[in-house]
Structures are given as structure tokens and as C-alpha cells.
Symmetry: C2
Subunit: 384 residues, 2 copies
């Protein structure tokens, strides 16, 4: 298996795209290639993620992006795994490059739904849940994650102020991220005054609907020994699944898919949670950041809620979590999110994260969840 | 690279599914595992293709299918490449198994749109074309393939009766295929009397909108040395791309993506067209079968049109093409089509094709096109 790197990365600002998903995907792909110091013709395969292309009446995005890059002959496929789509694309890119099938693979995620009204957007997102058992009965993701939050609160006494501390932290980070959807700080008082969306989750517990696109270039060390930027060595690329609908799970206080993917990733890399310097985790709702820290093994079950409130996970804390602002405040353009987490690691490793630069850069972990945990991807990145 | 086999395969009847795409995908996956003599727990990864899950308000199908199989923990991803979606899934499965990342991968395609009216179905399919340059201006696939047919007719004098002969042949084959959507023969007179849909293409030049699901199990020889059925050895798995919109292509009388994927596949396998015993090609319209035979290298450019009329490509001819009935008459449930071509090869190799059994089984080729050739997959199969 060949040592495999992320050699280039780029993102649009999240929020509202001035262009179609196709155009945004092409633009960030060129920027990621530029960061790598590579030409499009060096790409052997492209994975494009775009969950709701039907909203723009455009599926089959791969050939369009490749044509925009001047490499129409290159094979492509679209990869979907709900909110973990582009991390699934990154995983398949890793397989192709590490396995020697390609020397370089482009992975790009793009989503644009802001031209739809909120009801239509929500109904698209809800298609990632289990239709006959959840969506058809009125469940949407705020309600499903609220169910999880209630179970967690019941089991461990998780406090409203602890959820709020995560929102405050991630907004503070996003305020320092020029790519973020919400570049503003909020106070705990603002959080506590915000309306309840699905009890106990308030408005500021929820990630926004964002447009956006992000891309990475994955390449073999042996064929791209001197990229233009500092590369990320992919130490582990692991994915997992789980029963999708909440009602059929034995417990609701954690995501089994996260635990499984984390175990695989740490085993692959020969590393433990103790050796991780910072994380980008899937905080589609504040409760999800708590679940992630527990299920990934950074805190015992029921003990991560205090991490935000105590400053442990602040960008200058001992374990920075979501220095980008996370899904919560950087935004969540569904199919772009997984790759955008890696863009953050790339900018951190290249000391391009400006005011949100984290103090330690040994090993980084990204964690991306599909829906309520039916799918999960965990990646570990280190230095050459 | 490990020798990689298709060890099990199964399909629903194409036409109308009595169940959701999710249920059909689960059902054929179990049947494909049964044909392999394998248990679901032997599967390491699942690729599900379902282009228009939004029509059933259900995306993120992988965890649902895996849960139905009793293996919710197994990672999955949905792969889309328009009409070539599940052959793209087969290709990535080949990469994972040949590269040693998994011992066995399940690939399943499913599509269900028959509960929608024709206008909505057509508008979904058209999303596979290039929206700003084609779809937005009123183009749909019959019109785009009619443009190609006119170019071919202009260049090579392709006759109406030659297109008709392909429809007659493929209906004759489908009449012998219990999985086919249209299990009825048609005469050339019936063809010639059928209404023009997009000149020169008549009703019987066009494949139907079908529901359906099909699955294959891909496994390494070294870990599955004695499957319950005769396995297909994957001699080549090749994909390619092309400029998607017709107006930007230098010529319209062939599909460059087919030529490129075929060249890659024959090179991978160390085989030539002469050594192929029979083919399943992408005949979404009769003209597409002519293009395929020319672009795959079985006939010089402009000379394949006579193949159907002269009986060369009949199931008892010297080069049987689409013994299953093809997309034209077996049907075209978009995301299931690529894998269903492999199901036909599997049934032929296992002498389970009944009245449509072809005489020679040395090497088989499957050819699956995305949209008007923005993507293409070519696979070559042989015996152990």
C-alpha cells in the first residue's frame, strides 16, 4: 500500500454561492490543484459529491466538472452518503491511490440549495433519514437529534449551558474563518434567549443550510514527492455503518458508527486518541459534538459535555475541536462538508489558518457523519 | 493485484416493482449472495446505485440495504454516474477487492420511478444531460440521440430498416428472458408503423422507463475459491469520460468515451475484440447499439448498421449482442442497468439463460454509457 497524501485543498466561502454547484465545484477543484502545484492532466480519476443536484436539475456532475478542468476523458463518479458524502469520496480516493490504481485523484463536494425555500430544502435533507420509519411520520433531523439530546440529558444530566458553550465556541472560531457562513460571535445569553426548535435544541444548537464547495487532491508520495504546499499524510481512512433509524437502535446516547470507524482508524494508524492534536468533528447540532468526543474516545461516556464549558476544546485549549467553526457556524453544505473538514486541516498544517491557528499540529482527526449516524467516516492525518 | 471474480448475481424482473427501491435492492442482494453461496457477514463494503431516490423521498440507501441484510455495521456508499451508475459501482468494487482492501463487495443498483407520471420521469432522466446547454433549451434524451442518429445517417447512410432490425432482434431476445420488461416479439412492420418520437427515432427505437433492481457480489479468488455458481473472472474493468454536451464535441457519429474505455479494457485484459464471444451493450436507443459496435471496435466506422439486419448479432449469430434483450426490450431502470448486464453474463456463463442461451461463452463484454456518453464503463469477463 502506497503512502498517500492530501497535496492540495480549497474551499469556497460557505453561505450562498453566486454560481451553480457545477461551477463552484470546478472553481474549487482548480484552486485545490493550484495549492498542490499540479496540472489537471495529472488527475486520473474524479469523485464528485452533490447530494441534491436535482434541485438544480443537474446530476451526473463528474463529466461536467472534468470538462471544466480540461480533462473530459478522465473517469468520474458521484458519491453520496448523505452528510458524509465527500468523506466517502475521500475514502475511495485513498483506496485508488494507496492501491496503485491512480497516482492522483480529485475529490470535490458541492451543494447549492439556497435558491429553494426552507420547506423544500428541509424536505430534501430529510430524505437522508429512514423514510418509512422516520420521515413519513414527520421526523426531520432537528427532531431526531433532539431525541438523542434528550436521551443523553436523561442518562448523563447534560445541561443546556453545556450545549450552549459549544455553540459559543464554534461561533467564536467561525468569526475568525473567512470561509465560514456565520462570521460572528454569539454570547451564552444570546444562545439561551434563542427560540427552541425541537426541545432541548434551540436555534443556535442547529447548523445552517449552507451552499458551498470544497475540494482536495489525493496523490501518492512516490509520484508527487514535492507538492507546492505542505501535504497531509493520510494515516488512516476508515468508514462504517449502522442501523439508520433511531427506533431500532439499542441505545441513543451515542453513535455506534462513530465508535466503529474510530476503532478502525486508530488501529490502521497505530495511534490513540491521546496523540491527536486537534479535531474537526460532525457538529450538525451541538449535541453531536458531545457524542463525537465520547464515541471517538476522547472522553468517557457522559463526560464530554463539560469540555466546551471548561475551555478544553477552545482553539487555544488542550484539545481544539472544530477550529473552523464546524458545521454549526462554518456551515453545512451537505456534500461539501466532509472534504471541507480536510481543507481546515490542510490550512492548519500549512499555517494558513490566521487568527484561528491551533497551537499543536502533530496529528489531526476528521469525523463526518451521514444523517443520524447510518454512515460515518474517520480520517487521521499526520506529517511526512 | 488479486484475481477478482463476480461470484453471485441476481435481478428482479424489470418493469414495475411491487416494492420500494430499498426493498428491491435488499431482495436482489440476498439472491446474489445466495447464488454465490455466501453469507451477508462476508461482505466488507457495499455500493448502492439509485439515481432518483428523491422520487421515493429516500437517499442514503446503503445503511438501509445493509441493515436489511443484517450487516448494518458495514460501510456503504451510493455511486451515481447517470445510466452507468452501477457499472461505476462495479468498477470501484473491483478496485477494492483487486487492491486487497476488501475480500468481498456487494454492488446493487435499483430504480423505481413508475409511480410518477411520464412527464416527471422524463424530467428526472433529463437531469443527466447538460442543463445549461441542453436540458434548459428543451433537449431530452430521445432528441439528443436523434441528433446522433441523424449525424450517423448523414455520414454513413444508416437506414430506418437497420435501426428497426435492432429493435426486432432485441425484442426477440427479451421474449425469451423472464427478467425482461417487454417479453414480446415485434415485426419490422410493427416497428415501421410505430410513431416517430424524435426523427428518425420511432417509439420502438427507444428503451422504456423501467423499475428494477440487480446485484452482484465481487470477491477475491483467494478468499472465495469455491463459490456456489460458476464465477466470472473480471479480466478488465475500465471507465472513461467525455465532454458531456453534444454541441461541444468534435463529431457526433460515435461516443469518444466508449472508444477510450474499450481501448483501456482490451489493454488491461490483453485481449482484442476478435476474442469476445458475446456482448451486452448500452442500447438506450437502437442507434446506440450501432455506435457501441463501432466504437468498441467490432465493426469499422459506418459498418455496424448491417449487423442486426444480417443476423450477425442475433443470439445464434456469430456475435450475439444483447441476448438479454438489452435496454431496448429488457428495460432500463437507470441505476440497475449496468449491473443487470453482468447478471446476464453470469446467467449465460452458468447455462441458466434458457431459450436465450448463446452458443459460445469464451469471453463476454459489457458496455454501459452514462447519458449521451459523458461516462462509459467497459468490463471483460472470462472463465477461471
Amino acid at each position: 500500500m502506497r503512502e498517500t497524501w492530501v497535496v492540495g485543498a480549497a474551499t469556497t466561502r460557505f453561505g450562498r454561492l453566486p454560481e451553480s454547484a457545477r461551477e463552484a465545484a470546478t472553481r474549487v477543484s482548480l484552486a485545490a490543484l493550484d495549492a498542490a502545484g499540479m496540472q489537471p492532466r495529472e488527475i486520473g480519476h474524479t469523485f464528485v459529491s452533490n447530494c441534491f443536484g436535482v434541485a438544480e436539475r443537474q446530476v451526473h456532475l463528474g463529466p461536467l466538472v472534468n470538462t471544466g478542468l480540461g480533462i473530459p476523458e478522465v473517469p468520474s463518479a458521484s458519491i453520496e452518503s448523505a452528510c458524509s458524502s465527500s468523506s466517502a469520496g475521500l475514502h475511495e480516493a485513498f483506496v485508488r491511490v494507496a492501491g496503485g490504481f491512480d497516482d492522483a485523484v480529485l475529490v470535490v463536494g458541492a451543494e447549492r440549495l439556497s435558491h429553494l425555500d426552507t420547506l423544500r430544502s428541509t424536505s430534501f435533507f430529510a430524505m437522508g433519514a429512514d423514510y418509512p420509519f422516520e420521515t413519513r411520520n414527520g421526523a426531520t433531523f432537528p427532531g431526531l437529534y433532539a431525541t438523542i439530546a434528550n436521551a443523553h440529558r436523561h442518562a448523563f444530566g447534560t445541561k443546556e449551558e453545556e450545549l450552549g458553550a459549544i455553540a459559543v465556541k464554534n461561533h467564536a472560531n467561525a468569526a475568525r474563518n473567512p470561509h465560514a457562513h456565520f462570521q460572528k460571535e454569539i454570547s451564552l445569553a444570546t444562545y439561551l434567549a434563542s427560540p427552541v426548535i425541537a426541545s432541548p435544541l434551540r436555534l443556535y444548537d442547529c447548523c445552517p443550510f449552507s451552499d458551498g464547495a470544497a475540494a482536495v487532491v489525493v496523490a501518492a508520495r512516490e509520484t508527487t514527492p514535492r507538492p507546492a504546499s505542505e501535504p497531509l499524510v493520510i494515516r488512516a481512512s476508515a468508514r462504517s455503518g449502522s442501523i439508520a433509524d433511531l427506533q431500532d437502535r439499542p441505545e441513543l446516547t451515542g453513535l455506534p458508527a462513530t465508535r466503529l470507524a474510530a476503532a478502525k482508524a486508530f488501529r490502521q494508524a497505530g495511534l490513540s486518541a491521546k496523540e491527536v492534536s486537534f479535531l474537526e468533528v460532525h457538529d450538525c447540532f451541538t449535541i453531536a459534538e458531545i457524542l463525537a468526543l465520547e464515541d471517538l474516545g476522547f472522553f468517557p461516556k457522559g463526560e464530554a459535555a463539560r469540555a466546551g464549558a471548561e475551555g478544553i476544546t477552545a482553539r487555544d485549549g488542550s484539545l481544539p475541536v472544530n477550529p473552523s467553526g464546524g458545521l454549526k457556524a462554518k456551515g453545512h453544505p451537505v456534500a461539501a462538508t466532509g472534504v471541507s473538514q480536510v481543507v481546515e486541516v490542510f490550512e492548519q498544517f500549512n499555517h494558513r489558518a490566521g487568527a484561528r491557528q491551533v497551537p499543536s499540529l502533530e496529528t489531526a482527526l476528521t469525523h463526518n457523519v451521514g444523517a443520524t449516524g447510518g454512515s460515518c467516516s474517520v480520517h487521521l492525518f499526520g506529517h511526512r
